[in-house]
Every structure is written in structure tokens, then in C-alpha cells.
Symmetry: C2
Subunit: 523 residues, 2 copies
């Protein structure tokens, strides 16, 4: 590309800076341009704007149907956790003590200088839930008496608070929205099976709705949920080749059952502690969605999670054709909405605002709507629409006969959904390598850590390497390269060559390793 | 009824005590028997159990579609409000200062005795939102620049906290779930129109989904939302003849726009403050639902809000008919679910648990499921089902041909929905009176106030009486009789004789009154 071409290409770019120029800042600008969310003036808390919240509502709708299909029911538990409850599980409270919002008073009254100050001190401080194992455990202990009450399969959609020092929209915020599943079972086997079932639900959702390929695996000791026996996760690769933990599913053993007193009389009459699990995904998924698909023109939405699938932009001229074009567009909208895509009516926006065409177009491009359709007087007369696909370049367009478009709209959305997943899979493959030597491992991850305002450094991506399992070694690698074990993968189909499961020698120490793990820099 | 009949009737009663014996306790027992919710061990916070939460999800689904149809979009704002924001509107902070949960610290660390104590004191205390006018106002101030940005029509589903000293499940809890609409407009007229539109949405929902008749009206000065110019409400009569405020819609004038700085450049180029509104309903509605329809056998659900419409109870005998009966019931379920009721598939539960028939039956009766269908081997052979309607007595049943039942199920649900509204309207009419003299007013409301553990006292119900409008008089009536002005009604169709709108003399003072208001004891 010569200099003039570069300048033209630059002028077309909706998001500044580009991914290549500064990935972290590009991410913020995509969120702003797509009108998804913004920082509030309350430390670390975000405002989720309507377009962003509509994506979350779609995530909720799909996951709710999956949770229901696997036998779970929604319920709601208190926002506040008495300090003594949180303390009942020692590892758990240690994991969350450093990031708790603490309620200490229950009213305000004028202080000595007349200004309002907290008063009515509570006998016991209340913690704003960072997660709800302990408070839900108290209810489960009441609800469970006999083996007939098990399994108990509950989910909650809620806000939670973790006092993070460095926050970033969607990825890490002080308050965030999530769902947390909590289940109790009569045997360890059943609880482990539940843990894996829900991990699979998350993987299925990530791949087939978010079009975001993920690796399912187990966490190492250091990354385990505080209080869990085993933590499983799904890990996705973002466009800067870093990993994003997109969901977790925990086998909690009898730890929380013991601290909360969840006991049942088994079929043989013996009183036992139940086996519990918990699992969750959060508004962080929206961060993953953005960083998997968005480009230098803005957001790109997989059709299955788009708040609207199609926008119709009528070209309204003052030549007397206006009313006819609008009527024609309304009929087109009505015909499109008769079609069902992924269990919902196709959602169509008709944007007849009195705005410059270019501004309007760019707004919808940046918001990532899958299909854009322009209709002018001549299109109308010819019975065609001009169709723009968001998964292609901004200027790529085609004229399609109106009825053909309507008839094939669902197939087209399916094709785009599949195409986004393919593209993301290809990206991950291109940046995944089997690495056997420390030298190669070091050079693969050699780029400096990403910092705000600094151009995105190029580094490798995912490395499938042998690891001896020693937490001290894991810490050493992290300090040296900023790289962590993302997971111990469950299946090896994603490992180049498929040889992830055979024993070998640790890439860092040379000590024996039972299998390869996935190393990466991570969010 | 003779003594023996009374004893038999008593034995049939599922809920103890009955409404007549102790209304307040009956309410708690219905909630327990229907498995809707329970008190948590966190002061004043409730746990909403799956059956109760499913009712709330139906409320959300219906209201969401109504909010969308009136142009509103959902969003999400922070849980925490900095103290200084809450203080920006003087009346507002005064109204909520006495019931605020205050976050003062952001971590826990071991204290002198080794126990964890709050540490990391915040520079500015954060209030857990009791309502979100002030925090949403800050966002609106950023979002609104020109008249083109108006109207701004936003809704949020959220948890809120008000530190209530006396709590009761659903009706008044420290944490509750609600929706809060917040809108900004270019003119006072538009904001007033919005206030009334949303009041009508609430009234429509209450009457045509909850089957709970309501009176729409304006609040007196003393009952106005802190910071509002005008507060409108819907008021329903419960079965103890007390009023329940079921939803409110506030015209906020420019009060919050001034305190939050929501300004816009009008079409004439002049910078102006916007006019705002807010409106909300909460999980309190579920309390209203219970107290409008439940009876001495448990909950009665209006079909449009029931988590399931029909339960099929197969009668499973060890005579070899078991599999055939189950297969037959599954086919019945599938055929019923092909029908659409109120925009959703008919929801059918097939309860084949290994439980005594009587226990199973009573569980579903208490949970208020509209239709119960029993199918035994002989029913199957005859091609009939035994049908029980929850809106009739527990023993009332009819044999209906299977296909006739399937074909008419939607009409039957419609009939039950309409019947519940008619019954509630008739109840309200029977306990509403036009009262013109102080003596009659006093005797109408003469019963002592209801207290826990005390049998429900009989008192009048709603009184349409003249009122001079003096807040001191309102206070005097409240002190004397425990009666308040529920609202200044908007329309007089519900006033016996319809003469609510003509001037007269105050029932308490004899002073001039422009129109009648509705007086009642209230929750």
C-alpha cells in the first residue's frame, strides 16, 4: 500500500486509534462508539447503556433457556452477607476480604458541622455480596433435609461487588452483573457431573451464540476459586492474542456444605453433608464479545446476540417520493419480522431520523448491526434493496431483489453467525503454537506487558507446553514473562497436532509433566 | 352451618389460621404454603424462592413489553450513590436519610483480637441506592445536550435498599426488587403526559394481568415522593379491606434536572433545564396479588401471571396401566402446549413424583395453579380428564372429554382471568361507601388497628368523602382512626353514584372541599 492509499484507508477508519496502534485504547473507543457503556463517577462502577444492556438481555434470555433445560430454577437471595457468614469458610473469606464493600451504618444524620454523616452503626457489618455461596448456603441448609430434596438446582441473576483497584469497562468493574448457579447433590459424582454439565453449557453458549471459540479446562491450584476443590473454566483468545477467562464452574466438594450446615438424610438413613457446585458468567462476556469480533470500524455483533438484526435506512428525497419510500420500507420491515431466527422474530429497525446519511450509516456500523439495507426511490421502483454486511468491509455492497432478500434473510444471518466463528477459530489457530523449549517459549512471549497509552506489543498467543505443576514455577513464569497457565485442557482437539495429552518435560524446568497445558498472557 | 359442618369445613382448610381468624398471619402462611419466599437471617431481607421468582419474571416480561411499546429502553446504573449526590436535592435526601444502608469501608483485615474488621475507609461514604433519581440524573446530564436528545426514556430493573424498621414479606422489605423508569423531556406538558401514560400502564397491568382493580389518583402533599412536584398512584383494596399502594408515577418538574444539571439547548437556541419523571413498581405487587386473590386454601393465581397454567396429575397404579397412563399424559401435555395464551405457550407441569396423591394435590392447590387435571386408567380409557379449577372450591370437579379440554383451554383460562377481576371488583364495591358525616366516618373506620397475632378487626373499607385539603387535618384523622387519604381520584367511575367530582363540605371539618377523595387504612 502506498502513502496515499494508507491515508485514504485511515480516513475511512471509524475507530481511532486502530487495534494495531493501541489495542487497549481501541477497546475503550469501540465501547464509546457503539454506545454500550461508560464509566460512572462512582469509582469502578459502570453505566450500561441501552444498546449494551440489550446485548446482556439477549445473553440472559439464551442462558435462561439453557439453565431451564438442564433443570435449574431462578430464585433471589439477599444482597448483604453478615460478616460472620463470609467468615464461615476460611479460604473463601481470605479470597474476598481485600475487595469487599462493607455496610456499617443504616442511616444518615447531621454531624457537628451540619453535614450528613453515617449513623446508626450496625452490630455486625454487612458485606455487599462478592459472590453468594455463603448466604445461599444458609438457605440450602434449611431447604435440604432428605435425599428426596436433592439435587437442588438454583440460579440467581444479580449484581455483585468486588472492590477492584484497576477497572476496565465490562472486563473488570467494581460492580458487575452476573448469574451464579448454586447446586447441592447427594454424591460427589453427581456434583462433579453438574460442574462439567454447566461448563459445557458455557462452552456451547460461547461458541454457538457468541461465535467465540473457547478451550475448556481445569485451573491450577493458584487460580482456583477460594473455597473450591476444583475450578473449571472456558478460555477465549482476544484479538491482541491474550486470553480471557469467560466463565467458571466450581466443584466445591463438601467445603461449603460443612461451613453452612447443608446436611441430608441419605436413603440408608445416615445424616451426610451435601456436595455442592457453583458456576457463573458475567457482563465480562460483553468484553469478550467486543474483543473477539469488533474491528477498526467498530463493533461487530454475532446475529444471535444482536439487539436488532437489520436496519433499514430509507433515502428520503424532497422529490415527492418520500411517503412512497417510507411505506415501502415499512412493508419490508413487516415482511422481514415474520421470519424466525434462533427462536425469536427477526428484529428490524427502520431509521427514518432526520440525520445526514453518512452519520446514520456510521452509527449503525459502529453499533455492529449485522445487516444494513438502503432503500432509495430507484431501488423501490426496481424492487431491490442495497445490502451491506457488517462482517465485510464498510463499502462492500450488493443489490438484491427485495423478495429474494426477505426469503433468504434467515439463511444469511446463519451464514454470518457461522462465518464469525470460523474467523475467530482461524485467528486462534494462527496464534497458537506447540512449544517445547524454554528459549522458544521466552521469545514467543517476549513482548513487554501492555500498558495504557502504549502501542499494542506483538506477542505469541497461546502456547501448548508441558508444565511440571509446581506453583512456585508458575509464579516464576508469571514474574518473568507475565504469562500464566490458563488451564489444563480437557480435550486436545484444539492442540496443534492433537498431542496435548501425552507426558513430556516441563518447558521451564525439564521436570516430568503428565500433559501439556495452555499458557498465555491474560486479562 | 351446624357444628359438625363447621368442623368438616375446618378440616378441609389448608391454611391455618383462616383470613377471618387472623389475616396478618394467614398472609404469612399462604406465602409459606405456596413456597413463594421466606425471611432470610439478614435483617429485613427476603429470599424469593423459585415459584415466587417465576411470578416476578412474568411481571417483568409483561411490563417490559409495555415499556418497550411506549418507547422506553432498559439500561443499568450503579448500585452505589455518593453521599454528595443524594444531598444535591434537599427534600429527596431528607426523605431517605433515615433509612439508608451506608458503605464506609472497602476491605476487611484482622483487628487487634484477630477477628476481621472493616478497614480501608472511603473518603466519601456510598449509599446503597434507595432509588436512583440522583445517580441517573448525573448520566442524563451528560447524555442530554440538545432538544434532539429528548425525550430520553429509560427504565432500569434493579434491587434497592431502604432500611425499614418493620418489615413484611413482599410488602415492605429492606432490600426489594423493582423497576424504576426515568425520563427527561423538553416541556412540562410532555413530562406530565409521560407521568400519566405510565400511571395508565400500571393500571392496565394491575387490572388486566393481575386481575386487581385499582383507583388511579394523585397523592396529597404529605404522601408525595421526596423531591417530586406531583405523585400519582394506583391503589388497590386487599381482602382485609385495607388499601395497598401498588405503583407510583412522579412528575418531578425541574427539581432533579436543576440538582443534577440536566440542561438542553432548545430549538430557539436557549439553554433550559429539562423536565423529568420517575415511576416504579416493585416485588410489593406480589403481596398485592396474594392479598387480592388467595383464599383459605392458599394462593390463587390469575392465569396470565401463573408460572404454569395446568398441572397434570397421573394416577399411577401397580396394575400394569402405569406406562400407558404416563404416555397418555405426556401426549396431553404436548397438545396443550401447542396453544398460545397471552402471547406465550400454555405452560403445563406433569407431576409424576412418587408422592401420596393428597399431598401432591394440596401442594398445587396451595401454589395456586389455575387448572389441575387428574388422569387415571379409567379416564384414559374413556378419553376424559377430571378437571379442577382453582377459582372454585377444592372439591368442585368435572369430567371433560380430552379433546374438548384441549380445544377450549385458552377460553377457559380467559374466563378464569376475567372471573377473578370481576370477583375482586365486586369485593371492592361491597366495601366502598360514600360518607358525608363525621359520625358515619368514625363508625365506618372504628375497628382497632391490626396488630400481629390479633384477629383481623372488621372495618369499613374505602370511603369516598370530602376533604378540605389541610395537611394538619389529614394528620388528625390519621392519629384518630389510622386512616389516610389514599388518593385524590382521577376519574369517578368507581365512586358509588359517580358523584366524586362535585364540591362539598369536608367530612371532618365542614370546610369547603373541591371534590371527594378516597380514605382508607393502608399497608
Amino acid at each position: 500500500m502506498n502513502q496515499k492509499q494508507q491515508a485514504t484507508a485511515k480516513a475511512r477508519t471509524a475507530i481511532s486509534p486502530t487495534r494495531e496502534e493501541n489495542y487497549a485504547e481501541w477497546y475503550q473507543q469501540v465501547i464509546k462508539a457503539a454506545d454500550l457503556a461508560e464509566n460512572s463517577s462512582v469509582r469502578g462502577c459502570m453505566v450500561i447503556k441501552p444498546w449494551g444492556f440489550a446485548i446482556w438481555e439477549n445473553i440472559q434470555r439464551v442462558l435462561n433457556s439453557k439453565f431451564k433445560a438442564t433443570g435449574h430454577r431462578n430464585a433471589y437471595f439477599p444482597l448483604f452477607i453478615p460478616l460472620s457468614y463470609l467468615q464461615a469458610e476460611a479460604d473463601h473469606v481470605e479470597g474476598f476480604a481485600k475487595e469487599c464493600a462493607v455496610v456499617t451504618h443504616h442511616r444518615l444524620a447531621p454531624g457537628p458541622d451540619g453535614k450528613l454523616v453515617p449513623t446508626g452503626e450496625l452490630e455486625e457489618p454487612l458485606i455487599v455480596r462478592p459472590t453468594s455461596e455463603t448466604i445461599i448456603g444458609v438457605s440450602f441448609a434449611k431447604w435440604v433435609e432428605s435425599w428426596r430434596d436433592l439435587p437442588l438446582l438454583i440460579n440467581q441473576w444479580a449484581n455483585v461487588v468486588r472492590w477492584e483497584m484497576r477497572t476496565r469497562l465490562f472486563l473488570r468493574t467494581t460492580e458487575f452483573l452476573w448469574q451464579e448457579g448454586h447446586t447441592a447433590h447427594a454424591t460427589a459424582d453427581e456434583a462433579v457431573a453438574e460442574t462439567m454439565t454447566m461448563l459445557d453449557v458455557y462452552a456451547d453458549f460461547a461458541e454457538n451464540w457468541m461465535a467465540m471459540p473457547v478451550i475448556r479446562g481445569e485451573k491450577t491450584d493458584g487460580e482456583r476459586f477460594p473455597g473450591a476443590v476444583d475450578t473449571y473454566c472456558i478460555e477465549a483468545m482476544m484479538q491482541d492474542r491474550k486470553a480471557l477467562q469467560a466463565g467458571t464452574s466450581h466443584f466445591l466438594g463438601q467445603n461449603f456444605a460443612k461451613s453452612s450446615g447443608i446436611q441430608f438424610t441419605a436413603q440408608d438413613g445416615v445424616l451426610q453433608h451435601a456436595w455442592t457446585t457453583s458456576w457463573g458468567v458475567s457482563t465480562r462476556l460483553i468484553g469478550g464479545l467486543i474483543m473477539t469480533h469488533a474491528d477498526d470500524d467498530g463493533l461487530v455483533l454475532p446475529p444471535k446476540l444482536a439487539p436488532a438484526h437489520i436496519v433499514i435506512l430509507p433515502i428520503l428525497r424532497d422529490d415527492g417520493s418520500k411517503d412512497a419510500v417510507l411505506t415501502w420500507c415499512r412493508a419490508l420491515k413487516a415482511d422481514l419480522e415474520k421470519h424466525v431466527y434462533d427462536g425469536q422474530c427477526v428484529q428490524v429497525e427502520l431509521d427514518d431520523r432526520d440525520l445526514r446519511g453518512g452519520d446514520k450509516t456510521w452509527q449503525w456500523v459502529k453499533r455492529g448491526i449485522p445487516l444494513r439495507v438502503e432503500v432509495g426511490p430507484r431501488d423501490m421502483e426496481a424492487g431491490v434493496v442495497t445490502l451491506f454486511r457488517r462482517d465485510r468491509g464498510v463499502k462492500d455492497k450488493q443489490a438484491v431483489a427485495r423478495d429474494e432478500f426477505v426469503g433468504e434473510v434467515v439463511a444469511l444471518l446463519d451464514e454470518m453467525q457461522a462465518g464469525l466463528l470460523d474467523r475467530a477459530r482461524a485467528f486462534r489457530s494462527a496464534h497458537t503454537r506447540v512449544i517445547n523449549t524454554k528459549a522458544e517459549f521466552e521469545s514467543y512471549f517476549a513482548a513487554p506487558a501492555v500498558a495504557e497509552g502504549v502501542p499494542t506489543p506483538i506477542h505469541g498467543g497461546f502456547a501448548w507446553s508441558h508444565f511440571c505443576g509446581d506453583p512456585a514455577v508458575e509464579e516464576e513464569i508469571k514474574d518473568a514473562l507475565g504469562v500464566t497457565v490458563r488451564c489444563i485442557p480437557i480435550d486436545d482437539a484444539d492442540c496443534p497436532g492433537g498431542a496435548g495429552g501425552t507426558p513430556g518435560e516441563c518447558v521451564w524446568t525439564g521436570r516430568p509433566s503428565p500433559r501439556r497445558v495452555v499458557f498465555a498472557k491474560a486479562y
